[in-house]
């Protein structure tokens, strides 16, 4: 009997400290059993429950792309008991992963369109998955222009620095990497994500925007997109309600008629406009 509560055993293959405050770390996890890797078919935008026996589970967006093979990437912020334990774990340690859960970004439905990605802070994780997927040689020809706008508080707080450098070096991606304030050694863009978005002025023509970031960033980015002529059904947002079961039963992530874990976490702005702001 298929048991959606049962985590797959995975082994930590690699750990990388992402940020200068050392609170954000990336974990590459490899499946202990080949058949589990085959069963775990995911798409960018989905999430999983990381599971440490004895402590519990946490829902985390999948930061790797399925085009990167069977190893999964999660970037974890140290906030609670599970994440604190995780920060003490080493390559070779075994834990669990359950998923994939939730809906992905509608990438298949967006073929032929220009893609605009707007990310703030830690929320760049599932958008990293999307970027890697889009830039895969098999997928890249299916899309038009790709614009990537990403901001962090400081240069040392940017995630996935190697990938950022690689993307900035490509001529088929418009990259706008920004930090909030001027910093020593930083000769890139300075300014908040909404301001940078306004300057980049991505066109809404035949395009979709994937926006993920802290609520304050979303709040001030939205009017910019409105001004540029973006419609609510072209904008995809990702909610982050507290989720436990991940399969639409336990009820805690309920907003309006939706369970965020199953009906989301990706929603269009048009869908969210009809919901109470309970997220």
């Amino acid at each position: 009997m298929n048991n959606p509560y049962l985590p797959y055993p995975v082994r930590i293959a690699d750990v990388r400290v992402e940020t200068e405050d050392k609170n954000l770390r990336s974990y590459w996890l490899s499946f202990e059993n080949k058949e589990d890797a085959a069963a775990f078919r995911y798409e960018p935008g989905q999430f999983a429950e990381l599971s440490i026996a004895g402590l519990g589970e946490i829902p985390i967006g999948i930061a790797s792309s399925p085009t990167e093979g069977d190893t999964l990437l999660f970037t974890v912020n140290k906030t609670g008991v599970v994440t604190t334990k995780l920060h003490n774990m080493q390559p070779g340690d075994v834990m669990g992963v359950r998923g994939p859960l939730g809906k992905s970004y509608p990438l298949a439905a967006s073929e032929g369109k220009n893609i605009v990605i707007i990310a703030g802070g830690f929320a760049v994780t599932t958008l990293r998955a999307t970027m890697v997927w889009l830039l895969n040689p098999e997928n890249r020809p299916k899309y038009g222009d790709i614009t990537f706008i990403y901001g962090a508080r400081a240069p040392g707080m940017l995630l996935y620095k190697d990938e950022l450098t690689a993307w900035q070096g490509r001529d088929d991606v418009r990259c706008h990497i920004t930090v909030d304030r001027p910093a020593e050694g930083w000769d890139g863009i300075v300014g908040f994500v909404p301001t940078v978005t306004e300057q980049a002025a991505p066109s809404p023509d035949n395009a979709v925007a994937l926006v993920c970031g802290p609520p304050i960033m979303i709040k001030y980015t939205q009017p910019v997109l409105d001004k540029l002529g973006w419609q609510a059904d072209q904008i995809l947002l990702s909610l982050e309600n507290r989720m436990k079961c991940g399969i639409g039963i336990c009820g805690r992530c309920n907003v309006g008629p939706y369970m965020v874990c199953k009906d989301g976490p990706v929603f269009t702005k048009a869908e969210l406009d009809h919901l109470p702001k309970e997220y």
Partner: protein, 352 residues
């Protein structure tokens, strides 16, 4: 379609009970320390036909208050920390004298626990598949009941395998599912007079429920989430609520839960426990942000979930079966019938 009514004299019930109990555990309502509880029945004599509905709903048979999902060893190293799901239910079960409202609640919950292949809940499904539901029509509905307001009724058949009607010294037996028919096929056919008598009892019971306070949920149909979310009543209703969660725990359709790990020495288990949207921690994020941090938000959530969100998902079907337990057990007398009436009145006034 199965329409053949059967008849079972209470003096002949012992034989029928014997066939029920063959290879199955039988549970029915019983009086215990002043409460009406679900209890194992060891013989036909244990069955009490005159009891009101149980205080707690029978959802515990399929969704226990605390349920072990899987076990693990807590030791590091090989074999440690690997999760092993608990074994399926070993025996078949019969719930005897379950009320139609409670049986209907299981049909509602089936749509949540058994959604599709990817996400259905094996723990719920296993126990549902191995349980037979023999209903007893309500001949004496409790004054807090409002089943007829929510599309249910004292003799509603949805979810049952067999429906019994108490005719005094005998029971009219109506098989509803194929499983139910197989269990009663050897009973004698009912006489037309018995069927007529049952019809009169049903009509009287239905009429009794309709004399109780109820509400008209149609006033809420077709309204948007935001129409109802902003009604003035939410700003005062919450003041009497204690957020104790009693309404959610006694409710046969509430299904929220938490998942927690428990460890004792080397032994560990992952359990799910009933949880409640009345609790502040229920929705609090790891960051400290809480989408329903105020009591008003949580009280509104309970009523809107049952009377707005679920109907939106299910073509108007409400998330309530009218069993009346939340009315009966609320320590501050919040009455769902009054709340839904006010939701309807407020939303009508707003649209004028």
């Amino acid at each position: 379609m199965i329409t053949a009514y059967k008849i079972l004299g209470k003096n002949a019930f012992e034989g029928f009970f014997g066939s029920l109990a063959q290879g199955r555990e039988v549970y029915a309502p019983a009086q215990k320390s002043g409460k009406i509880v679900w209890a194992p029945m060891h013989s036909a004599a244990d069955v009490d036909w005159r009891l009101d509905n149980t205080d707690m709903s029978p959802k515990e048979f399929f969704f226990p208050q605390s349920e072990c999902l899987m076990r693990f060893k807590n030791a590091e190293g090989e074999g440690g920390r690997v999760m092993v799901p608990v074994a399926p239910l070993a025996t078949q079960r019969v719930l005897l004298n379950i009320r139609p409202c409670d049986a209907k609640a299981f049909r509602l919950l089936d749509r949540i626990f058994v959604q599709d292949d990817m996400t259905n809940d094996p723990y719920w499904r296993d126990k549902r598949e191995k349980t037979i539901l023999i209903g007893q029509g309500c001949v004496n509905p409790c004054p807090e009941c409002f089943c007829t307001s929510v599309g249910c009724g004292p003799f509603h058949e949805d979810g049952l395998d067999i429906l019994l009607t108490d005719l005094g010294d005998r029971l009219l037996v109506k098989p509803i599912s194929g499983k139910g028919l197989a269990m009663v096929k050897d009973l004698p056919e009912a006489a037309p007079g018995d069927i007529d008598l049952a019809g009169k009892i049903m009509a009287a019971s239905e009429a009794a429920v309709k004399t109780y306070p109820g509400f008209e949920p149609k006033k809420l149909a077709g309204r948007t989430v935001l129409d109802i979310y902003d009604l003035p009543l939410w700003s005062s209703l919450y003041e009497t609520c204690l957020n104790c969660g009693t309404c959610t725990f006694v409710c046969p359709t509430c299904h929220c839960f938490d998942i927690q790990d428990e460890v004792r020495g080397e032994a560990g288990r992952r359990v799910r426990n009933w949880d409640s949207c009345m609790q502040k921690l229920f929705t609090e994020h790891a960051s400290g942000h809480n989408p329903r941090g105020e009591k008003r938000d949580r009280v509104r959530q309970r009523f809107m979930h049952k009377f707005t969100y679920i109907p939106m998902r299910r073509d108007g079907e409400l998330g309530c079966v009218g069993c009346g337990r939340c009315v009966r057990f609320c320590p501050t007398n919040i009455d769902v019938r009054e709340v839904v009436r006010r939701m309807g009145e407020d939303v009508e006034a707003k649209s004028k």
